[in-house]
Amino acid sequence: MTRALTIDIRHQRGDFRLETRFEAPATGVTVVFGASGAGKSTLLDLICGNLQPDHGAIRIGEQVFVDTSRGIHLSTEQRAIGWVPQDGLLFPHLDVAANLDFGARRSRRHQSAVNTQQVIDTLGLGALLQRWPRTLSGGERQRVALGRALLSNPSLLLLDEPLAALDAPRKAEILALLELIKREFAISAIYVTHSLAEVLRLADHLVLLDAGKVVASDRIDALMGRAHTPLLSMRADTGSLLTLQVAGRDPAGDGWLTTLEGQTVLIPRLPLAAGIPVRAYVPANEVIIATQAPQGLSVRNALQAKILCLRDRGDGSVLVELAVGAQRLLAAVTPAAVSALALAPEQPVYALVKSVSLDAPAGGRLLEMG
């Protein structure tokens, strides 16, 4: 890891204590995930320099934002942060073109990594340039805010729940754009959210924050599909991220055939060329465990797997962590099922996947999502 984002801070604000320490790759999207009150906004204030930490340091590559032990404290304007809050915060007295230009003109870093025209084209801002922020819809506002942040040529993009204020169709639109941005521009971004869907779509690295403390920080595929990941494994919608290779159309139906570690998985739709990997999300409660090869079932995806571990969540469900080749799959079953089937680690089983939701491509072209 040549360029890393390192955050190691202690900060007390009233009764709330933030004690946060993690390291993430400086390129790609690091999602900070946590409930409200977990300390996300305090962490953001510290990163953008709105707050000074009591102790600690924040570094991105060689650039030190703050280091209390060395007495370094860059002001917000010196940090070159592309901040995109949930309401966009466009300057109401400037038109879209002037908003976009605001950061670009003040950029301190001269070798610009982004091309103005490319940003305008990618975000579809060409038709909005002469408009006033007041006349824009919520989705348009967020597009302009993203463009303004990108054009300021930031060392770090700070996305603060940028979708929280949007309705579902707008969310999907901006999410798709964020994926596009992620691919088109080699950005470093910290993305703060409490939405699991956004985590699944965008995260390369995931930081789980709870009551001011980092409870886990790792690559997303090392945290998803694990029975013991804090926070995530306790959620009702917990599940696994699988990487599937598209093999081709299903000759027997409308769907598509993909392969997962050499086994075939049927998915309902996804018009992508063969060989392109697809990131799919499988909720744990959509997975059924069978100890024998199933027959006469409507569920068509039966994967050979091996039980790695079991975890009783104490709420009437047991999480079963399965290995499918090198990938992990979580299944939620009842304690009664565990004893009836005598499920135990190292046991070979069949995992029946009722549905696969294709949330994001792991590479290649952007998907049209409904």
Binding site: C48, G49, N50, S75, T76, E77, R79, A80, I81, G82, W83, P85, L89, F91, P92, H93, L94, D95, F102, G103, R106, S107, R108, W132, P133, R134, T135, R148, A149, S152, L158
Partner: protein, 230 residues
């Protein structure tokens, strides 16, 4: 309606006094408005009270306090006289300071309200985009507060045009120097056959005040045009 030389002089003196008062008062009004709207510091309540005191003091008292401090015998006045040969009493600048001080609270209040209406996170957004303190104030805060600042300027101008007590106490009633419309009207009313002159001057006062208010309305709309509904 033809005006006598004395009447013209009163009009010009009034405009001089009001414009200079604006020039002297607007920068501190901006500074205090910003300080009270955006900063938390010890003694803030005291400063707030001091800035507002001319609003509740009789203008004559304001003029008298100015006389005590800036008058030839006052500590600051004596220093100004010795160091620069500058005497404020009986001068147009003195009248402008007296009128401006009476208008200051209203101006500070108007500016402060318009600054408080601005989302401070817009200033943070400007910082994150690389704008330093002065840049931020000039490119974000001031343009957003401009309708309020213009309103403050016009209110201040109108108040200075009509200020009487503080001006006559500190700067006296010197035609061509400190005799504003209000003072000239008062003088005309004291004279046995001055009623017609008083009436003319009163009408002129009214005209100037109305023009200023209409101009302010127009400027305010232009400054806030980004805020118009589509």
């Amino acid at each position: 309606m033809s005006l006598s030389e004395a009447e013209w002089l009163a009009i010009l003196t009034s405009l001089q006094v009001a414009l200079r008062a604006l020039l002297f008062t607007l920068p501190p009004a901006l500074f205090f408005g910003w300080l009270l709207a955006r900063r938390r510091f010890p003694g803030r309540a005291l400063l707030d009270a001091l800035v507002h005191s001319p609003l509740v003091l009789p203008p004559v008292v304001v003029g008298y306090l100015l006389l005590l401090t800036l008058g030839v015998q006052g500590p600051i006045g004596r220093w100004l006289d010795n160091a620069f040969g500058l005497r404020l009493v009986f001068s147009t600048n003195g009248a402008a300071i007296a009128a401006g001080l009476v208008a200051l609270p209203i101006m500070v209040r108007t500016i402060r309200l318009s600054l408080e209406a601005i989302d401070p996170r817009l200033e943070l957004a400007a910082r994150s985009l690389g704008a330093g303190a002065l840049d931020r104030f000039l490119s974000v805060t001031l343009p957003l507060a401009l309708p309020g600042v213009l309103a403050a300027a016009v209110l201040g101008f109108a108040m200075c045009l009509g200020e009487f007590g503080a001006v006559i106490t500190f700067a006296a009633n010197v035609p061509g120097e400190t005799q504003t419309l209000a003072l000239a009207i008062y003088g005309a009313l004291q004279a046995p056959d001055g009623e017609a002159m008083a009436m003319r001057l009163a009408l002129i006062s009214l005209t100037i005040a109305l023009l200023a208010l209409l101009g302010a309305e127009w400027l305010g709309r232009r400054a806030g045009r980004w805020n118009a509904r589509p």
